[in-house]
């Protein structure tokens, strides 16, 4: 028969194992709860988009379109110009090496329209608009403003979430269109002044080799990124708990979640389409 002393190491190991299981279980529960919440919110948004249940607040939508779109315009333009310039500078080394100046526009245009434009603008958008949205909804949640809306017989999904969702999806799409165009201009200017490649040659290369497919590929991504950022930022905002600290945590989770979603969706779209 084993003594109590002999059992101690076994008990310790069992206790560590139980703690590990509890740790895994808790995190699995948390993840499942977040994913469930995201699915539920997506479903509610989908229901509100159905023509016979179409429900959103008009003035609130206009306010959000302005906040989300017009106020993001300068930062998107700056990001896009620099992105175009960087693409040209990076590819410029090889273009000069092989003398393939006629491919500079294609190289920059293809990568900007398909990948870099939507991804960088999407990330910028999630950092600026998504984080702001989570902080706004989170603060409303912890200060009982969401409950106040419900107490006044107003559905927070129709009043708060739908206008934000529509504004984010529409505006990210438009910002990517503008950003793509601006990035190409940035690329053309850089190619002229840094590499000495004529802007006309750059433009001709874009027109000759970049197809509408490349543009649509990026715009499909922009649309889906917009949906993902909107749902994720609204979900984390509406599920905020625990005062100012909770708002900080929610914003952090929202930005990280949006970034992961952007890369995951990008991978899936590339995988499916190609």
């Amino acid at each position: 028969m084993t003594s109590m002393a002999d059992n101690k190491p076994m008990q310790k190991t069992a206790s560590k194992f139980m703690r590990l299981l509890a740790f895994i279980g808790k995190h699995f529960n948390d993840w499942a709860s977040e994913i469930g919440g995201l699915c539920l919110l997506t479903w509610q948004i989908f229901l509100n988009l159905l023509p016979w249940r179409w429900q959103f607040d008009g003035p609130e939508t206009w306010r959000n379109l302005y906040q989300v779109g017009v106020k993001s315009f300068p930062i998107v333009v700056v990001t896009a110009i620099l992105t175009g310039a960087i693409m040209v500078i990076q590819s410029g080394l090889y273009i000069e090496q092989y003398g393939a100046y006629g491919l500079l526009g294609w190289g920059a245009g293809y990568t900007i329209l398909r990948e870099i434009g939507p991804i960088l603008i999407g990330l910028m958008f999630s950092g600026r608009v998504g984080a702001n949205n989570t902080a706004e909804l989170g603060t409303m949640k912890v200060t009982d403003q969401i409950d106040a809306l419900r107490a006044l017989a107003i559905d927070p999904i129709g009043y708060l979430v739908m206008p934000r969702f529509l504004a984010m999806v529409i505006m990210l799409f438009l910002l990517v269109v503008i950003g793509d165009f601006t990035a190409l201009i940035g690329g053309a200017i850089t190619s002229q002044f840094l590499l000495g490649v004529n802007m006309k040659l750059f433009a001709a290369s874009v027109i000759a080799y970049v197809t509408l497919d490349d543009l649509f590929h990026g715009l499909i991504k922009a649309f889906i990124f917009g949906c993902a950022i909107a749902v994720i930022s609204c979900h984390f905002g509406l599920s905020t708990k625990g005062g100012a600290v909770g708002v900080g945590r929610a914003v952090n989770a929202s930005v990280v979640g949006s970034a992961i979603a952007i890369f995951l969706i990008d991978y899936l779209i590339a995988f499916i389409i190609n």
Partner: protein, 247 residues
């Protein structure tokens, strides 16, 4: 009439409300008192349908509110006004729009009528000139009064007040109590008032209910609470403690 039956609610596995039952007759104002963290605000949120209980029922005029669909519950909420403990004013609207918001959402009145009602409400709370200010430009007391005006602007037959005079000076507090009293006397509103200001609610509430650690330990009218011999109720009502501060 509001009937609360066997309400239980747990939070993170800990019971917050245990078998809470009470009845609020039509036209009466129930004073809900108790120590901080006793579950008063949660009970109020359950009564007005903002939080679902784990078990038990809340019926308002014979309708179990937790069995209603979202649309039906929204309809019922037009009959309810609520003043939140921490104001819950909408940050992105100025004071005028905050007070006008319930009327605009209801969509029954013209903008001119809404403006008249809001101006009158601002006058009633002695803040006639702050309509264009935003909540972050107001003091706590002003926010409370604006929140009060928003709660009563639709003149609902049922009102819930969560600490209506917390953070207010005595003069403003007495004005708020007068308004509460007037609402009840003129329109026969049914109300639940949570407050730690026992002296203030003594005269405006008809019935009192004390809650401690999630359970109702007293329910009765003013005569009954004055004769009550439960130590905690006596301490609360009379405003003193038998315990030494360092004990």
């Amino acid at each position: 009439m509001i009937v609360v039956e066997n309400i239980c609610k747990t939070h993170l596995g800990r019971p917050v409300l245990e078998n809470v039952s009470l009845t609020i007759e039509e036209g009466t104002n129930l004073g809900l008192i108790g120590p901080g963290g006793a579950g008063k605000t949660l009970l109020l949120k359950i009564i007005c349908g903002l939080v679902k209980p784990d078990s038990g029922t809340v019926t308002i005029n014979g309708v179990d509110i937790h069995k209603l669909s979202a649309t039906e519950l929204a309809e019922l909420r037009f009959q309810i006004g609520m003043l939140f403990q921490n104001y819950a004013l909408f940050d992105f609207m100025n004071v005028f729009d905050n007070i006008a918001f319930p009327l605009r959402q209801e969509g029954k009145l013209s903008e001119d009528d809404i403006e008249k009602l809001v101006r009158k409400a601002l006058l009633d709370i002695s803040l006639p000139k702050i309509g264009d200010r935003f909540p972050n430009e107001l003091s706590g007391g002003m926010k409370k009064r604006v929140s009060f005006a928003r709660a009563i602007i639709r003149q609902p037959p049922i009102l819930f007040y969560d600490d209506p005079t917390a953070g207010l000076d005595p003069v403003t507090s007495s004005k708020i109590y007068l308004l509460l009293r007037a609402m009840q006397q003129e329109r026969g509103t049914t109300a639940v008032t949570i407050s730690h200001d026992i002296d203030g609610i003594k005269d405006i509430c008809d019935v009192f209910c004390m809650i401690d650690r999630g359970q109702i330990i007293f329910h009765g009218d003013r005569n009954a609470i004055e004769r009550c011999e439960i130590p905690l109720v006596m301490q609360f009502w009379r405003g003193f403690s038998d315990d030494d501060l360092d004990g």
